[in-house]
Amino acid sequence: MMTAIRNNLPVLVVVAPLCIGFVLPTLVRRVRLVETLVIAITVIGLVGAGYLASLVFSGGGTTIVYSMGGWPAPWGIELVAGSAAVLILLMIAIVVMPIALFSANNLSHEVGASNRTVWFYTLYLLLTGALAGMAVTNDLFNVFVLVEVATLSCCGMVAARNHSRAAEAALTYLILMSLGSALLLGGIGLVYIITGHLNMGYASQELSRIWQDYPRVIWLAASFLLVGLGVKSALFPLHVWLPDAHSYAPSPASAVLSGLAVKGYLLCLMKILYNVFGGSLIQQLAVDKIITVLGMLGIIVGSVFALAQDELKRRLAFSTVAQLGYAFMGMGLVNTRALTGSLFYVLGHAVSKAVLFLAAGAIITASGKERISELAGIGRKMPVTMAVFTIASLSLVGIPLFAGFVGKWNLLLGSLDAGNWLAAAVVIAGSVLCGAYLFPIIRIAYFEPAPSRDLQDPGMPQKVGMLLLAAAVIILGVVPGPFLELARRAAVDFLAIR
């Protein structure tokens, strides 16, 4: 039994949440049971992802290749648990579990009736499974299917909030995402037409042989894929849907959307660009430069827009646009340290932003105030919530000993390796701007007179959820060793394919 589980771990992390997600609606009247079940599953998922990561990590750069149904590639579908995959799986598991804990007994006021809570959990698990699938899959068509599953679950989660603007935000999201999906499918189709393969490894081999014969097709495929996945992962200026969707969604959904969902698409883009096209081909197509420049623009413009927002969740949503800019920038610099930084930054941002959105949700639930200017004195009334908010803010600003700093440090080294001084300057400018839009929240919360109304921290599961994520922010900053090593190996793997 144990060996069976161990041998099938790469597929179980994908299939288990998907299957259980579909079973949940049968328990629609047993909300508490569903909540417990979801927490239990996410804890098991964390153990599974941790075990898989330890297998890959201790193997010293080995990748676990799993053939679905025993059919070897190129006939069957291949799942690959390499360094990048397990890093992202770990990230998903680390973030998903505390959010599930936070949601326990805390959703119904945001999504309306309690039976809708169960449907929300279904979508939550579907999204988790789809994201895990994106991490491990090595098949282009699989990527498309999983992206669709994730997109539709995200859309449902945005629409779940009983807020007048939520439906509108979800519709915008759906329309733009359909456009993205269509382009993604077109891009995958073009790659399939010229290479005859859907397996990334085989497609890459074929592509490196024939790319000179089809320069226009390859250019078209690359631009389709870049725009398609760019819309989904909020690559500036294709981010327009994100602020609405992420700020009007229920808070746990905002946390998972901002923390994880966009990262899944980002990873897909990274995998397709590096594992299918290969580093040298994307440099020839100048895709790397486009991504770097758009990433830098995203950092600056996203931050400036975040500064202008007075609504707490909207400011955090624009901050996500800016922070994703760092990941894109590192992805476009095409060297080991920049890619390491990019991957680690994705991880650091996932935990930090999840904390921020959960804390924002707790504040809005308790006080009913959505504007930053109305948060005076919250820090004294809700000490735990504001403490974790502060920790996550320090991480995003890039203070040493917090997760964000480690990523920024490697991004800076990578920028210098690439000889790109502008990128280094933008990393720093982004940090200063990040301080400019996050610190005032902390100042208002702690240093302005408290309201007379009685507010308090949310319940125990919510507090534990937030504290777990905050602990992750600090652990990633103080002992990043193994995670950084995984990210470095992943970067080396990505760059190994020419």
Binding site: L394, V397, G398, I399, P400, L401, V406, K408, W409, L412, L413, L416, D417, A424, A425, I428, A429, S431, V432, G435, A436, F439, P440, R443, Y446, F447, E448, G477, V478, V479, P480, G481, L484
Partner: protein, 481 residues
């Protein structure tokens, strides 16, 4: 080793304890604050003594491939010595000055946290640790700047944060470049970039470092946050914005010149020849602007800007005598400036007068305060028996010996303008009719007056017996030359 950790953690521990006791009485809070500051100071003196006697005290660890270390060298020991001693005085002064203020819990929490962080800057053994504490210092002192919580304070706080974060950003880039070039970050094994030598972009790297640390060292034109930060309570202005925070910038520049580049490499850079001019410009313009300020604290702030560049000028001479003058000035200037600020605080508290033009006759009401103020003013001109005479003397000798004698003239001119800056105030304070009511009795004035007078006396003592500082100055100079 254990002394180092205890010295570093005392302030933070005290700050956290005070934060956890929001309902503690004022008396209890003061006792806790004083206890932990004394503890921190005693351990710091112990560490400084060990370091200055040539022992190696340090700890280091590694995070994700990036080394961090705390290992003070003589320069760090000197900074720690100055900071911890003055922190004691400022804490006692605060008991008197802050007695009727609001939010004292927050005030003491962050005063003590800033103590720890400043010692962290002093003790940092590599660039990564220096950057960390330099950044943290901004965050720890921000609540003190906005203590009044009104619009002006919040605006000043915003300015302070933005200037400081930008400076820290420049330092971070520069640190990354240094790491990429030299492959190490520790200060212990000689100048970091000595092995790299003169390579393209070295001048830019130096400029980036100086700009980054220059924000807190208030080099013109990066000084704008400092006059604004004067909205903070006077003990904060005295301790942080005349000494601890601004010294962390000066300290950073000394580090960059002597530990990152090394004086030989800086001498080869064309920027190295330009730097004394930047310092001289700030010295003169700072003090001239100071004479034109009517609000006493603003005048003192611009005067700080000018005086900090004395230290930088000494460092930029790249000559042992100049560096000796710089280190002596770190001691002597800080003692007198804190005394000046303390006196200004007493004047404001007891008479409500903030402007120089209103201070006629104040001396008869506050004779001891104004006596200390007058002594400190003489010190700023550089007169004997005050300790600043000796530092200026060495700065001038260093300029001459370093082959840049015009800067000795700058110092003389600056001394003259200093006379115009403070002496008229002192003279005016003792005009008018005598026999007014003396306001120096009761109500915690003693707690403010004692530190003020003691510091002025300390300066005279050092001025009469400068040899007491010489061993530490000598070991700093020896460690770099």
């Amino acid at each position: 080793m254990i002394e180092l950790v205890l010295a570093l953690l005392s302030g933070a521990a005290g700050g956290i304890i005070i934060a956890l006791m929001p309902r503690a009485s004022r008396r209890l809070r003061n006792i806790i604050a004083l206890t932990f500051v004394v503890l921190g100071a005693v351990f710091t003196w112990r560490v400084a003594g060990m370091v200055l006697h040539g022992q190696i005290v340090g700890i280091s660890w590694e995070i994700g491939g990036l080394p961090w270390s705390l290992q003070p060298d003589p320069l760090g020991a000197v900074f720690g010595l100055i900071a911890s001693t003055l922190w004691l005085f400022a804490t006692v002064y605060s008991f008197g000055y802050m007695a009727k203020e609001h939010k004292q819990g927050t005030y003491y929490t962050f005063l003590l946290l800033a103590f720890s962080v400043t010692l962290g800057v002093a003790f940092s053994g590599n660039l990564a640790a220096l950057y960390l504490f330099y950044e943290l210092l901004t965050l720890a002192t921000y609540p003190l700047v906005i203590h009044r919580r009104d619009e002006e304070a919040v605006k000043a706080g915003r300015k302070y944060i933005l200037y400081s974060l930008s400076g820290a950003g420049a330092i971070l880039i520069a640190t990354v470049v240094t790491y990429a070039w030299a492959g190490r970050l520790d200060f212990a094994g000689g100048p970091l970039l000595a092995s790299v030598g003169l390579r393209r972009g070295a001048g830019w790297l130096l400029a980036l470092f100086i700009a980054g640390f220059g924000v807190k060292a208030a080099i013109m034109p990066l000084h704008r946050w400092l006059p604004a930060a004067m909205v903070a309570p006077t003990p904060v202005s005295a301790l942080l914005h005349a000494v601890a925070v601004v010294y962390s910038g000066v300290f950073g520049i000394l580090r960059v010149v002597y530990s990152v580049f090394g004086h030989e490499l800086v001498r080869q850079l064309s920027l190295g020849r330009f730097l004394p001019w930047v310092a001289a410009f700030t010295i003169l313009v700072g003090v001239i602007v100071a004479t034109r300020q009517d609000v006493l604290k603003r005048r003192l702030a611009y005067h700080t800007i000018s005086q900090l560049s004395y230290i930088l000028l000494g460092a930029f001479t790249l000559h042992p005598l100049g560096l000796a003058g710089a280190v002596l000035h770190m001691f002597s200037y800080s003692i007198l400036k804190v005394s000046l600020f303390f006196a200004a605080g007493i004047i404001a508290r007891q008479t409500g007068k903030l402007k120089v033009s209103e201070m006629g006759g104040v001396g008869w009401k506050l004779p001891l305060t104004m006596a200390a103020f007058g002594a400190a003013s003489l010190g700023m001109i550089g007169m004997l028996p005050l300790s600043t005479f000796w530092s200026k003397y060495h700065l001038m000798r260093g300029s001459a010996a370093g082959g840049i004698w015009p800067f000795a003239l700058v110092l003389i001119v600056s001394g003259l303008i200093n006379a115009f800056c403070f002496l008229p105030t002192v003279i005016a304070a003792f005009t008018g009719e005598r026999g007014q009511q003396v306001l120096e009795k009761g109500g915690g004035v003693g707690l403010m007056l004692a530190p003020t007078a003691l510091l002025a006396a300390l300066s005279v003592l050092i001025g009469l017996w400068p040899g007491m500082l010489w061993p530490s100055v000598e070991s700093v100079v020896r460690s770099f030359f």
